[in-house]
Amino acid sequence: MEQKRTKEEYKKWSQKQAPKSPKIKRILMAFLVGGAICTIGQVIQNALLGTGLDEKSAGAATTLFMIFIGAFLTGINVYDDIGRVGGAGASIPVTGFANSIVSPAMEYKKEGYVMGVGARMFLIAGPVLVYGIITSIVVGIIYYIIK
């Protein structure tokens, strides 16, 4: 059969008819869910500051709390639902990072603790870590030079 369209034309033609993401709704939900997660973080931080911790320690402790919450909600099968509703709002905060590590660890438990959990845990977070660390090194060097 002769194709009436080139590959490019077919792609454009079919994409034009494809169902579209509800962008406005998704942006709004990302704002609300992301904002809610950050607000919870702020509440925790304020509470920690109230106990007499200095700002730096309170910040670090807040991150730990948020990572725990993200990991815990992943463990009890809730964070995927938050992610489905909140999109980037749920994945960009540190709770989303925890989710990206705990979810493959849970999934690959059946393949053993070494080649399963151990090897696959950073399946999604791995690239974030690699390029995050590289970027921080580069920024650190630039900062050192211009200081």
């Binding site: 077919y10 079919s14 169902p19 998704r26 489905r84 994945s91 690959y108």
Partner: protein, 336 residues
């Protein structure tokens, strides 16, 4: 012996009979619009096993058992099994039928496997090499997500063109004699690749292959367009079905009104939030083994063209920048 009608199509003159069929599905499929047609609905996604993969094998094994018991035959009466699935090295199929001691051909046609296995099983019977052959496939939402996409608990969003892998297994037993629906033509598809690279939009990748095979079928058989009560594609989904209809009309094949897609039929899109519909080997297999053959045997349908569609990519090929090659095989099933 069969007669070759053209490059793609063979007419099966002995008209092998589909002697029995079965479909076992998971909870989501069971709660869908076709729920009442399936033999069993399994609420536990593990099916009592330790892993999703073992669970999928059990779906296939139980469906196989069901086909035999409904056909009132034992394993000794089957000469061949043609089976496949979506997992790496087709483990669901091989592990599922490991204990049967029946000669076995493992197939990979992605989601087109049901039509592929049914084609080959029918050829075996037509050629006189087998009294009976079982053609069966499976897929599982959880094992497919694990293999092709993200971990289940990962909080990502689904794109509106994505489809939901059907959990379950469906299959048929073809044989020489009987009163059941008969396989009259087989149109084997060729690979069609229109350069689509988005794995979340399989319908668009597979629609041209379905169109190509259906066009070839009508061209080579010279059958009138209204010959079939129903032309049913495998898992193009809502979007792919719409694209396929338009492509067919451009080829002068207007099938509006008697064209459906298993991926559209199996879920309630609005309530079940499956975006563009179902996919996976079991999508077409369970709709065939549950709904379609039931309708045929009751003569509520008399002639159908079953066109299972498959996307022949792998996660690796996509990462390497390859597009998605697609295929579709068509099998005519008629009550005579």
């Amino acid at each position: 012996m069969g007669t070759r009608l053209g490059k793609h199509t063979v007419r099966l003159d002995s008209k092998p009979v589909i002697q029995s069929w079965a479909a076992i599905v998971g909870a989501k499929e069971g709660h869908g619009p076709l729920g009442s047609y399936f033999d069993e609905i399994i609420e536990d996604e593990y099916f009592g096993e330790e892993t999703f993969e073992k669970g999928e094998s059990k779906f296939l094994r139980e469906t196989f058992g069901k086909i035999l018991s409904k056909g009132e035959v034992s394993t000794g009466d089957i000469q061949y099994i043609f089976a496949g699935d979506l997992l790496n090295q087709c483990i669901a199929a091989s592990f599922g039928i490991r204990e049967t001691e029946i000669p076995f051909y493992g197939l990979y046609g992605a989601c087109s496997t049901m039509a592929e296995s049914l084609s080959l099983g029918s050829f075996m019977v037509e050629g006189g090499f087998a009294e009976r052959a079982v053609c069966i496939t499976s897929s599982h939402f959880c094992s497919a997500e694990k293999q092709f996409r993200y971990p289940l608990e990962f909080g990502n969003q689904r794109t509106p063109t994505s489809q939901w892998t059907v959990t379950g297994s469906g299959g048929v037993m073809v044989g020489k004699a009987g009163d059941g629906p008969r396989v009259t033509h087989v149109t084997t598809g060729k690979i069609v690749d229109m350069g689509i690279t988005d794995a979340n939009d399989m319908g668009t990748a597979m629609a041209p292959a379905a169109c190509d095979t259906i066009t070839a079928h009508f061209r080579e058989t010279n059958l009138p367009l209204n010959y079939y009560d129903l032309i049913v594609t495998g898992d193009l989904g809502w979007h792919g079905k719409n694209i396929c209809l338009q492509l067919l009309e451009e080829n002068g094949i207007s099938v509006r009104g008697f064209y459906e897609d298993c991926g559209v039929m199996i879920y309630d899109q609005q309530i079940q939030k499956t975006d563009c519909g179902g996919s996976g080997c079991a999508c077409s297999a369970t709709v065939l083994g549950g709904y379609l053959l039931d309708k045929l045997s009751k003569r509520e349908l008399n002639k159908i063209l079953f066109v299972a569609t498959g996307a022949l990519h792998s996660p690796l090929s996509l990462q390497q920048g390859e597009s998605i090659p697609a295929i579709a095989h068509a099998v005519s099933i008629e009550m005579i």
